[in-house]
Assembly symmetry: C2
Homo-oligomer: 217 residues x 2
DNA sequence: ACTCGGTGAGTGAGTGGTTACTTACCAAAT
DNA sequence: ATTTGGTAAGTAACCACTCACTCACCGAGT
């Protein structure tokens, strides 16, 4: 029996392969950084030979740039859709998208990629970073300015407030996901708490463990 | 026994050399990470041959561990002195030391070392990290609990509040010193503002540029 | 229905350069 | 004379990247 195109082909198309290389490389770069990842490892993770990686990307650095560019352009797309929702005054969609973007941008893999690229000072990373964080600033700018116009947050400097908020969220993720400090709440819960804490003027839930030690462990 | 040197010797003592290697290596590791730094570079920066580096430290990793251990033990020392000042109720010394420790721990070189060691997941970095952050938690724990007992910050969860504050400070440093986003105030000013902002319940200076755009640049 | 040649997917076995680390030896200080 | 600070010149392993080559697939000609 000579089966024809019945099951999956033995060879992938160029686009499929390119995507699988990017996926493999992204997780490795996020885990070990650019310098810490070898092209041999990338090939092994993608299940192909090292030579094929270089058929798709001229250099290791070009592959890295492609990954960051892809992530950045997806963020850009989300921002555009979100902006149009805001203009249509569709607050349900806007809030949902903004929430998704915040969760995505504070996702451990994204954070590790972001931090590594920033620390290792790749030229490409500037754009990536600016894109990732403009999201937050724009989102919070809108929210805070709206609330201020409603009479809330008297005497609050919006830029400082936005930065403070981002600081809380990012730092929580750093602590919990990257540095491995155990969280005393679920991530979702904590981000929500931070939002409340920040936006309502540092009034946290009264249910908090007041006598808790501040040093974890 | 005590060798008194009239003129500068052509050769350094073991301890002097060891210190100079650590200094050179620390700045390189902070700038490029463990993987990104070569032992040749370290030797060149310290102004000696590569072989001599290995006379003082058996492996590159051991040198790295020594750097983190040194930083951590200095922090520990500061914490001890500070604790004794607190017990003596010497608030002037306590506040001064605590301020110094916060400034030191948010210093760009320390932050880069910390972030790199955490991202690259060296076993040694755990201790280093725990030490660096216990500083904040303990300092803030004391402050916040004191203020709560005075009737301030009703319904505030101290752990969350401490984390939020650290988030603000660390994120500001990340933005400004590592990611290169221009600060709209001086670093010292901003840290102080964060302290005020946090401790007084998000009431920032009314002098703030209220109509400022939130996106820098 | 079958062959055959063109094309792109895919690889094993390198290449030169770099890395962490070593060896064998030297010179200054005591 | 011995110890200690110091080096030039290695070495084996590993790195990003290349080369020469094979194989799978498809469609045109018969």
């Amino acid at each position: 029996m000579t089966p024809r195109r019945r099951t999956k082909s033995l060879r992938s198309s160029g686009q499929e392969r390119q995507a699988s290389i990017i996926t493999a490389a992204a997780s490795l770069f996020a885990a070990k950084g650019f310098q810490g990842t070898t092209t041999r490892e990338i090939a092994k993770t993608a299940g192909i030979s090292e030579a094929l990686v270089f058929k798709h990307f001229p250099t290791k650095r070009a592959l890295y740039a492609a990954i960051l560019a892809e992530k950045a352009s997806f963020s850009e797309l989300l921002a555009t859709v979100e902006e149009s929702a805001r203009k249509r005054d569709d607050m349900r969609v806007f809030t949902m998208l903004a929430g998704y973007r915040i969760r995505r941008a504070t996702d451990p893999t994204m954070l590790r990629l972001l931090l590594f690229s920033a620390l290792e000072r790749h030229e490409i990373s500037d754009m990536f970073f600016q894109n990732q964080h403009r999201i937050f600033y724009d989102y919070l700018a809108g929210y805070i300015e709206r609330r201020i116009s409603e009479g809330a947050f008297r005497n609050v400097d919006p830029l400082l407030a936005a930065r403070a908020f981002i600081g809380m969220v990012v730092h929580h993720r750093l602590l919990h996901e990257i540095f491995g400090v155990p969280a005393h709440r679920s991530p979702e819960d904590t981000v929500d708490t931070y939002v409340t804490l920040f936006l309502e003027g540092l009034r946290a839930q009264p249910s908090g463990a007041k006598k808790q030690r501040l040093t974890p462990g």
